[in-house]
């Protein structure tokens, strides 16, 4: 008796083709998911850039500036680092983590039944994981970029309002790119992994078990 062949993988191109239709038609749902990422990353970016700017101002050791900083409630240590801001950054990272994982998790779990249906039609686990990878990458990268932009603009505007033109003379360019890099990496990696893990787990289920999941 001849052997039953193994189902072949659908190419990345075709998978993208199929996923893109979904992303486009679920545009508003995608926006909601993305806004979770945008806000989380904006917060993280804001906290980081503010920290860099304040540190750069402290490092300037300018008596006039020190007076403004102290008036703004910044504690000036000799080392130049600021513990309370560091704590806030860790806190914002945590908020970012919860925000992104929550919105990506929601967008997958509400479609576990759909994953079961796709398996009935002959989809391999790989197709499901790939299509969620594509979708979460698009949402994650777009959301992260917008979040970085938003966080950067707000932090720079707030810094100029508080410390006036001193910010321009002591602007931490390197620190800015470092902060943006960390935000980009955090946002993209978190978005993708938070979507892929539940999608992978749903894809591994027997189709009936996936379809039995309450909507």
């Amino acid at each position: 008796m001849e052997k039953i062949p193994e189902q072949k993988h659908v190419s990345w191109g075709v998978t993208f083709n199929v996923s893109w239709a979904g992303i486009r038609r679920r545009f508003f749902r995608s926006l909601v998911t993305m806004s979770g990422v945008v806000l989380a990353i904006a917060f993280l970016t804001y906290m980081q850039i503010m920290n860099k700017i304040v540190n750069a101002l402290i490092d300037a050791h300018d008596p006039v500036l020190d007076a403004i900083l102290q008036a703004a409630g910044v504690e000036i240590h000799e080392s130049g680092s600021n513990d309370s801001i560091l704590l806030l950054i860790i806190l914002s990272l945590l908020a970012c983590f919860v925000g992104i994982v929550n919105s990506m998790l929601m967008s997958v779990t509400e479609r576990i039944k759909e994953i079961g249906t796709l398996k009935c039609l002959g989809a391999l686990d790989g197709f499901i994981v790939r299509s969620y990878f594509i979708e979460s990458s698009v949402q994650g990268v777009a959301g992260t970029c917008l979040g970085c932009l938003l966080g950067m603009i707000v932090s720079i505007v707030v810094a100029f309002m508080s410390y006036k033109m001193h910010v321009a003379t002591h602007f931490p360019w390197l620190g800015l790119f470092e902060a943006l890099g960390i935000s980009l990496l955090t946002g993209t990696l978190l978005s993708i992994s938070a979507a892929i893990l539940p999608a992978y787990m749903a894809a591994k289920k027997q189709p009936v078990d996936a379809m039995r999941v309450e909507e």
Binding site: E6, V18, A21, K119, C120, L121, L124, F127, Q206, V208
Partner: protein, 248 residues
């Protein structure tokens, strides 16, 4: 060998035990069943009888705890995940009570999916999908989303999707459960037509008496066992009339 070839589904001693905490629930207690090629078989039983569980085993959607199911001579339990996916894609077509269409895809894209999974290019898959949507009478609704058509039309899309890869078996789980009487009748008639046209085997799980009249064989499942098996002519069902027309 010739009788062997006529049997498309062969279930032997199919048992399913669910473990709920410390308690073991026997959903199926050993069912034997043969389904002939080209047959229209209905599985009947109250909810909780194990009807759906058995149906899922036959469809390769769930694995039995003991016993085995053969489709076209292949034992499903011997297959790996990729082979199972191949069988689901090429040999089986599924129709569900709640249609299970992908809501973000048009009728055409929904029906094209199984073709794409079978390795066809999206353009060719859509061609085949349009053709089969014409057969089920939805040639004018190709670019509509499921939310833009009626329940009966959604089920027609689902039927087209089940048939697009020319499967040998179509499994329909309560296909009329979410439809009104008239639409349900139309769907049953359509299934009957398609069975003849494509020479497919149809297996349904149902408690819709209307479906029985279209069946060649009816299996009653009770307490996880095949209680009774009856062939056409052996069962007599009266389900009353609609608009003066006798059903059954």
């Amino acid at each position: 060998m010739s009788t062997q070839e006529d049997i498309i589904v062969k279930a032997r001693g199919v048992t399913k035990v669910y473990t709920m905490g410390a308690e073991k629930v026997h959903a199926l207690r050993g069912i034997d069943l043969d389904v002939r090629r080209g047959e229209y078989l209905s599985i009947l039983g109250p909810s909780g009888s194990g009807k759906s569980t058995f149906f899922n085993m036959v469809g390769g959607l769930d694995k039995p705890t003991e016993g085995h199911v053969e489709i076209d001579g292949y034992s499903l339990s011997d297959l790996n995940q990729k082979q199972l996916a191949w069988v689901r894609c090429h040999k089986m077509g599924y129709i569900f009570q709640s249609f299970n269409l992908i809501m973000t895809m048009t009728a055409l894209e929904n029906v094209a999916l199984p073709r794409i999974f079978a390795g066809e290019s999206p353009a060719k898959a859509r061609e085949a999908a349009a053709e089969i949507l014409n057969v089920v009478g939805l040639g004018h609704r190709l670019t509509h989303l499921p939310s833009q058509v009626s329940g009966g039309q959604q089920q027609r899309i689902a039927i087209a999707r089940a048939l697009v890869n020319k499967p040998s078996i179509v499994l329909a789980d309560e296909p009329t459960g979410n439809l009104d009487l008239h639409t349900g009748e139309e769907i049953i008639a359509l299934l009957g037509d398609l069975k003849t046209k494509f020479g497919i085997t149809i297996i349904t799980a149902t408690h819709d008496m209307k479906m029985l009249s279209a069946s060649d064989t009816v299996v009653w499942i009770k307490d996880g066992q095949a209680d009774r098996i009856a062939h056409r002519g052996e069962f007599d069902i009266s389900v009353g009339t609609i608009d003066g027309k006798t059903l059954a």
